[in-house]
Symmetry: C2
Subunit: 290 residues, 2 copies
């Protein structure tokens, strides 16, 4: 029997271990650090087997999935670089890819690292909130390095299928980080910025769906998002700055009562959004899997 070692059973790692159970002829082993996570993972049958000793499992692991926070992933690669099984596939789930791909350059040849980012999550964390169905119909983004083999990419695709991801998107780490700054990190900066407003506690009774939706992700893990934001600083600062400028333009049109300009700006943005929704409904955005 082959072995998949999932390191870190938080929300994403726990969900991946659950989703990967039963994959072909692989045993899924979950590596945890705390007794509390061990107990919860055991109770929920999150993996076929649990361990406190990931290092001890590495020589026999055909696939290693790194699900710690960004610093944890980078540190693990560096610390255990010589323990991985020759020919094994390592992939990770970090929300920024350039920094992780760079760290993976420390690995010996023959050990293949492929950067991955499951575009799934919740505003809550930990094994308590893990679910094997978390990845259904979400994007699985893959940033293979130059040394990625066709066999490993094919194996990864089969794992993605088993987890029921909606599609697999292959791109470069740089493009991933640029896109994710806009589609994900900016949404989190917006949510925390809105929740920092003095009005938050006095507005109860006045929220509609748009407020709940926009602020949902503000209940984030500060330590992890501090890492994610600073690891992608240039791309993120660019999109935050661009948003500030567009907000300023709206404010100016509203302040000066320039209804014509305001109406034109709203029509343009609303038209773009409607077109994107239409394309999505038609399924134009489904990319071919590799």
């Amino acid at each position: 029997m082959k072995k998949i070692l999932v390191v870190g059973l938080g929300l994403i790692g726990g969900s991946l271990a659950m989703a990967l159970r039963g994959f072909e002829d692989f045993e899924v082993v979950g590596a945890v650090r705390s007794q509390s996570t061990y107990s919860k993972a055991a109770e929920r049958h999150a993996a076929d087997r649990l361990t406190f000793d990931p290092a001890g499992e590495l020589p026999g692991a055909d696939v290693v999935v790194l699900c710690q926070d960004p610093a944890g992933i980078i540190g693990f690669l560096r610390e255990h670089r010589d323990r991985f099984k020759p020919g094994c596939l390592i992939w990770d789930v970090c929300g920024v890819k350039t920094a992780v791909m760079e760290a993976a350059q420390c690995l010996p040849s023959g050990v293949n690292f492929i950067g991955c980012h499951p575009m799934a999550g919740k505003e809550v964390s930990g094994i308590d909130n893990a679910e094997g169905t978390l990845f259904r119909n979400t994007h699985f983004i893959v940033t293979p390095g130059p040394a990625a083999t066709a066999e490993h990419l094919e194996l990864l695709r089969r794992m993605a299928d088993h987890c029921r991801f909606g599609d697999v998107i292959i791109t470069t780490p740089e493009r991933h980080d640029e896109m994710i700054a806009y589609t994900s990190q900016l949404m989190h900066v917006i949510a925390v910025s809105v929740c920092a407003d003095e009005g938050l506690f006095s507005c109860k009774g006045f929220e509609g769906g748009s407020f709940r939706d926009c602020t949902r992700v503000a209940a984030l893990d500060p330590a992890m998002w501090t890492q994610l934001f600073t690891l992608n600083a240039p791309a993120l600062c660019q999109v935050v700055g661009a948003l500030e400028e567009r907000l300023r333009q709206y404010r100016q049109a509203i302040e000066t009562g320039d209804r014509e300009a305001l109406s034109a700006m709203l029509a343009c943005a609303s038209g773009r959004k409607k077109q994107i929704d239409l394309e999505r409904a038609r399924g134009d955005d489904v990319r071919p899997a590799f």
Copy 2:
């Protein structure tokens, strides 16, 4: 039999007419302008009866619900001020209240206008998208003028119950407009600002739930939101400016790599959001109905 006249069967008016059908001993009459809306409303049994002539119905209407766009509501009050039945109750659904309450001052005494704002909606408009269940568990905000009678407030409360609103919030027009600038209008300004980004069409495959949630309301009706934004310009510009400033602070902390400051800001906002969610889960935000 008494009569409720719902003027304007768009998304909100159509949904209200449907939700109000069967209310006590009232006939629900829907006033439309276009043949197309008439046909669709008839097909969907949106009201007990339909008419192209709201003015002709006014002398016999015990309750009039104004569901046009803001300019339409204000114009209707002015044009028909002398046609309303003495002792009748008029309420509206406009998303800004100060401007509408001011316009209602043209009404003769004995005709009672109560400003209302059902905090429900969709990112699509028109009778096609109307549903009688739209208001379930949403906030019904009420801004009574000084002349509002206890009987009319009680009648309004029974209508809100019949429509299955989650709660009824009574406040002043000024406070409503200040709160709504933050909880609703700002969310719409954010959504259109995000969708104005050049990255919108190239980011397909990289969106997660946060992006879909935050941009959902960008597919708005430009003409109506131009009115809503400009009618509430001072309060809205204040919150947009405050958001620009907080985004700038985040950008600065990320740009300079000040992890300590960034982490503290994230912890603060995330803590506030978690506390609000907790209070909401405990039901602390349910205000007593009047």
